[in-house]
């Protein structure tokens, strides 16, 4: 996976905010994933079609975090979502 990659979200995967969390659900497989507000913001940026590098840049501008930390966190989250087949990455 490269920072120039973008995530694609399958049509049957949807996200809804409930309380302070966001739940992502694959409506066909029933696979689900919970996100805290930071994860939800990353999801939102991914859903806008940004590259992983653009997602990291936006997060750097919005949160007090180092580039190294945010790149690691974004890559970990994207890998988890990909492993659950909630996104594809290319």
């Amino acid at each position: 996976m490269k920072l120039t990659d973008k995530a694609a979200i399958p049509a049957q995967v949807m996200a809804r905010q409930v309380g302070k969390e966001t739940v992502i659900l694959d409506l066909v497989s029933g696979t689900y994933f919970g996100l805290d507000p930071v994860g939800a913001r990353i999801w939102q940026l991914l859903a806008e079609g940004r590259t992983l590098a653009e997602v990291c840049a936006a997060m750097l501008a919005e949160y007090e975090v180092t580039r190294e930390d945010i790149e690691r966190d974004v890559l970990i989250l994207v890998e988890e979502l990909r492993a659950k087949q909630l996104i594809s990455v290319a």
Binding site: A11, Q12, R16, V18, G19, V23, L25, G30
Partner: protein, 287 residues
């Protein structure tokens, strides 16, 4: 409204398509196949019955397999097919029982075999009226939800029957495919035939807790549990699924959902009822 008709018994002919969905028991036994047909949906219960459901979920026609009794077919309709039809009509239907406590409804959501009917029966024979044994239908009402009454009966395995049900309670005819018995509401099992505002929902644990234990669920946890316990006829109808997800998300934002576990011992049920009654009567905490 949901219409239901019987046709003459007939052999289940092979269907010339793959099912788009199946229900399989944990031991691998196939329970239900879901096929798409030009006339709607075919729900096949192998060796028991076929149900042809209209595309809008408003009507169903049952063709029992030879030797299958009307009682068995009707039982399948009430417990399996009707909740799915209601889901196709856009209603919120869940694997949950419900009883009337005070002026509201308290629901117990759980997978089959987890004790939701036993718990509801325990309340029902103790002066709390039954709203439904399973297939709980919820309807939005102002900021909250109402629990609608279901069929005035309750189904129990033999051990729960022996522990809870007075001998004089009327039972429906025995069925070939299950040792569960259905007991009709009446003098001993009170039935609430009016919608009641939903006050509490308890998602039941597996009985591993050494003592009665409640845990407030976050909205996200509640959403996931509501989705897992939903009846859904067409899991490929994406607009309907999205609408269902929206509705369930709204439901999950109600601060009324708890995880509940307790040891599954019949002799403890009176204490469990007492604790639930007290808990359900408490003011709802806000998040």
């Amino acid at each position: 409204m949901s219409g239901f008709n019987f046709e003459s018994p007939r052999l289940q002919a092979p269907f010339n398509a793959l099912p788009f969905h199946e229900w399989v028991f944990p031991d691998g036994t196939l329970w239900t196949q879901f096929f798409r047909t030009s006339a709607g949906y075919l729900l096949r219960f192998p060796d028991l019955a076929d149900f042809l459901v209209s595309p809008d979920g408003l009507s169903a026609t049952c063709s029992p397999a030879p030797e299958v009794t009307d009682a068995t077919a009707h039982h399948l309709y009430l417990n399996q097919v009707l909740p799915l039809m209601l889901s196709r009509q856009g209603k919120l239907v869940f694997h949950a029982s419900a009883v009337e406590i005070g002026d509201g409804a308290v629901a117990f959501a759980a997978a089959s075999g987890s004790g939701k009917s036993t718990l509801a029966a325990s309340f029902a024979i103790s002066g709390f009226r039954l709203l439904t044994d399973d297939g709980l239908v919820l309807q939005g009402s102002g900021p909250g939800y109402q629990a609608l009454p279901g069929h005035p009966s309750i189904r129990l395995w033999e051990d729960s029957e022996e522990a809870l049900i007075p001998a004089e309670v009327e039972a429906s005819p025995a069925l070939a495919f299950t040792s569960k018995s259905r007991f009709l509401a009446g003098r001993d099992i009170g039935f609430c035939d009016r919608p009641r505002p939903l006050r509490r929902v308890y998602f039941l644990g597996d009985g591993g807790a050494p003592e009665i234990a409640f845990q407030r669920m976050s909205a996200a946890e509640a959403l996931i549990q509501w989705v897992k316990h939903s009846f859904l006829l067409d899991i490929e109808e994406k607009p309907l699924l999205a609408s269902h997800f929206d509705e369930v998300a709204r439901l999950a934002n109600q601060t009324i959902c708890y995880h509940l576990d307790y040891p599954r011992r019949f002799e403890d049920l009176a204490r469990v009822r007492q604790v639930i009654t007290g808990h359900a009567g408490e003011k709802v905490e806000t998040a």
